[in-house]
Each structure stands twice: as structure tokens, then as C-alpha cells.
């Protein structure tokens, strides 16, 4: 691999063209993960819509949609002088909407786990591990 990236300091976004997940969603998820694990910091510039579309060889609208979504969710903001920048401390992070949506997703997961007789400890352990992973890579 590229030496510079062995330290894991860089935020790498991988777009899988064969995934069922739409590309704009993959870009959006990538940026959110970058913020979560600390590889993207508050105020970090993101490439322009045109530059990212060109690097990935995808349509302008695809990247635009991802950035628009991130902006609505408060993970990025548009600055006139610097373009799109990461907003890791933006308002509305623990918004009611997110907690509601997370509640629905978690309810489905917990129900299915229970139906499969997967115990409470196993599932909470998984969530703990995911948090640990994020904090472990955090700089």
C-alpha cells in the first residue's frame, strides 16, 4: 500500500460500484465515518463537487446529492471562500430525528437478534466494540 497511508492518518473513501448501496449514500457514509473516527476534523476542506466527481469518475449530481445530504444533516457546511468544509461540531448532532430513526433501526435489530436467540450481552458487546474501534483510531 501507499506508505503515507500506513499510519491510518488519512481519511480514505472507497466507493464500490457494484454495491447495492447508491454511490451518493456511500460518499455520505464515508464522510460521517471519517468524522466519527477522527480522521476528518472540524474545518477540514472537502474536494469541490467537480473534483470529487472527476476523481471517482461519477456524475456531478451524485456528489452534489451526497454533499447536499451532509449539509442538511449538519456534517458539512459551505463556506464562500473555502468551499465545502467538515463541520464536526455542528448543531443538531443528537437531533430528535436521528434518535427516532436510530430507535426504529435498533428496534428491528434487537427484535431479530432476540428471535435468533442472540443474547443482550452479545449485542451490546458488539456496539461497545464498534465504539472502541472508533475511539482506537481516533487521533
Amino acid at each position: 500500500m501507499y506508505n503515507k497511508y500506513n499510519g491510518g492518518a488519512a481519511m480514505l473513501l472507497t466507493v464500490d460500484f457494484e454495491s447495492a448501496l447508491p454511490i451518493y449514500q456511500q460518499i455520505r457514509n464515508g464522510v460521517v465515518q471519517g468524522i466519527a473516527d477522527g480522521s476528518l476534523h472540524d474545518g477540514d476542506p472537502l474536494p469541490s463537487v467537480r473534483a470529487l466527481a472527476s476523481e471517482l469518475g461519477v456524475n456531478l449530481h451524485t456528489v452534489n446529492k451526497a454533499y447536499h445530504l451532509l449539509k442538511i444533516e449538519g456534517f458539512v457546511k459551505m463556506q464562500r471562500s473555502r468551499g465545502t468544509v467538515v463541520s464536526a461540531l455542528g448543531p443538531g448532532r443528537d437531533s430528535k430525528d436521528f434518535m427516532e430513526a436510530a430507535g426504529i433501526v435498533l428496534k428491528n435489530i434487537v427484535s431479530e437478534a432476540a428471535a435468533r436467540s442472540i443474547g443482550r450481552e452479545k449485542l451490546t458487546g458488539m456496539i461497545n466494540n464498534l465504539y472502541n474501534e472508533l475511539e482506537g483510531t481516533k487521533k
Partner: protein, 358 residues
Amino acid sequence: MLINFCVIYSLIAAFAVVHPWLSRKNVLFGVVFGGVQIRANPGTKKILRRFIAWSAVIAAALAVPCILFFLIPAKSDADTALVFTVAVLVLVGAEGVPFIAANRAMKALKETIHDPNLVSDSITVELGADAEKDKKTFSGAWFLLLMVPIAISVVLIAVFYPSMPDTIATHYNAAGAADAWQAKSAGVLVFPITMQVVLAAVFFLIGIFMRNAPSAVKGSPGAAPGYGAFRRFLNGWLIGFGLLVQANFIIIILLYAGWGMDMGAWITVFLALTIASVAILFAAFFRMRQRGPEGKVYDDDSRWKAGMFYYNPSDPSIFVEKRTGIGQTLNFGHPAAWVIIGAIAAVVVFSLVISLGK
């Protein structure tokens, strides 16, 4: 004339033959591979040998009738110019044939190779502050430097116009001796400034369009190492070269002003600087080329028609790095590329009509 023709013709022919070395080490005839080992593959070596042989044979075969023509005594300048142009165009076109054949052969060879570093289903890019710093290019404002020679010309004309002689030598032959004169007028002096403005506009447009051109090899941040630095260099080079070409017209104004410039000496200096600039450009390119891919490489051969023409309608770039050769090329999948081609074609047709009408 025969000497000029032979030099230009040989340069183009030589350029065609060395084409395979004017691309990244993991790209051959527009076909991309995951690593530089492909150059050591016996199949590749065979394709290279065949390509070189055919390119050389084509160049030699086309040269024979041209040289015979040049040996005919008493032919008009117009005929000579026509044969010269046609010969060069036919050579450029004909040299495309072995390239396309080699492109096909490389693709066939690729089918037989398992290349674990080549991916076709994903691209990884780096985001964040470091990545943006790597990609930084010259801002458009740097191209304002091209206004400096224009300003110098304007000042020189303003200062020296009253003391200029009534008749001005307006044309010089290759040896640097004056062979055409015109009466002093504002119109005569507008010419060098107009040329400088046109040059500034052309270099500015090329610079603006090209400064963000993505690399011809993608896939991961290390797929085309050194490209960011090379692109920055190319931007600066373009400004420097633009200034050099514009300088010609400052010399012309000094000449008009009766400074007794030695045109022969200037032409020598100009040619030397031009050759040096091109040499530096090649050196920078080969420095970048030294580094093979340092990460996954994306297989996008289908986007490079015949290995030469980039066609990707979903890519918003108008210019992209050339897959083979130094510099950049158009994305023919972008409508603006065809507008540019149309504009160039219009200029060529227009100047042909003008010159034929004379």
C-alpha cells in the same frame, strides 16, 4: 527546406517510436496494469518490438516519395509547403495504426494475466486537509503574470514612438536580416501587442482548463504517485513558457525602436531556451514516471477508445491527463470538448481560406 523537412519529419517519426516510454510504467498503449512488472513480460516485449519495427518501417516508407519530391528542381513554394504539410499529416495518421494494433494486442495479453492489484469495482480517494494540499494547483491569478510583457510593450511603445524611424523593418528572414518594411504608424505597432494579448489569452485558457485535470490512472491515492506535483509543475511551466514566447514581441518592439538588436543572436537564445524548457518538461515527466503505482489501480480501459481517446460522459472533467504522452487531452464524453474541437477546426479552416485567398 529539405533540411527543415527532414528534421521535423524525423522528430515526429522518433516521437512515434518512443511513444511506449512516454507513459506511466504500468500503462502500455493505453492499457492499464496493476504494476510495472508488465514491462518485463515476454508478451509485452514482443508487442513492443513489433510496434517499433512497424513504426520505423512506416516512417521510412513515407519518407522516400517526399525526399524524391524535394529533389525535383524548380518547384513552387506553394507546392513544397503543401507536400510538407500533407507528408507530416499522413505520417501522424499512419503511425496511429501500429499503436492501435499494439493496443489490441496488449488487451489480449491482459486477458491472460491475473493482476491482483487491478480492480474494476471500486475507487478509493483520500479526503481531508492533507489531500487538498496535495492537489493544490496554481490559482488563476498567477496567469496574470502574462500581462507583464504586455505592459512592458505598451510602456516601450509610449516611450520610443516619437524617436522611431519613419520606415520600420517588419519582417526578418531566418538568418535575422530584414526583408520587409512598412511606414511607421500606430497600426504597425499594434501588431506585437495584439499577438501578446492573443498569446496571454491562449495560455490563460489552457492553464485554467488544465490545472485541475485528473490523472490518467486512478483507483487509490497511490495509483498515480507524483501526479499532483507534476501537474503543479506543468502549470508553472506553462506560465514560464508563455512569458518566453511573449518576450519575442518585446524584442520586436525594441527593434522597431532602432535598438539595433541582433536578431540572429536572439533567435539562437530563444531556440536554446525553448529546447531547455522542453528538456526540463521531459525531465519532470520522467521523474514522475519512475514511480510505479503504490496502491490499487482501477481498470478503466473501456473509457480509453483505441487507448488514446478518453470518453466518459459521467466525468465532469473537460481535460484529463494523457494516458500516453506528456500533457493533457480532452474528455470526448463532455460536450465542451466538442465545442473546443469545433473552435480549433474553425480557426484552421478560417486561416486556410484566408491564406488560399491571398
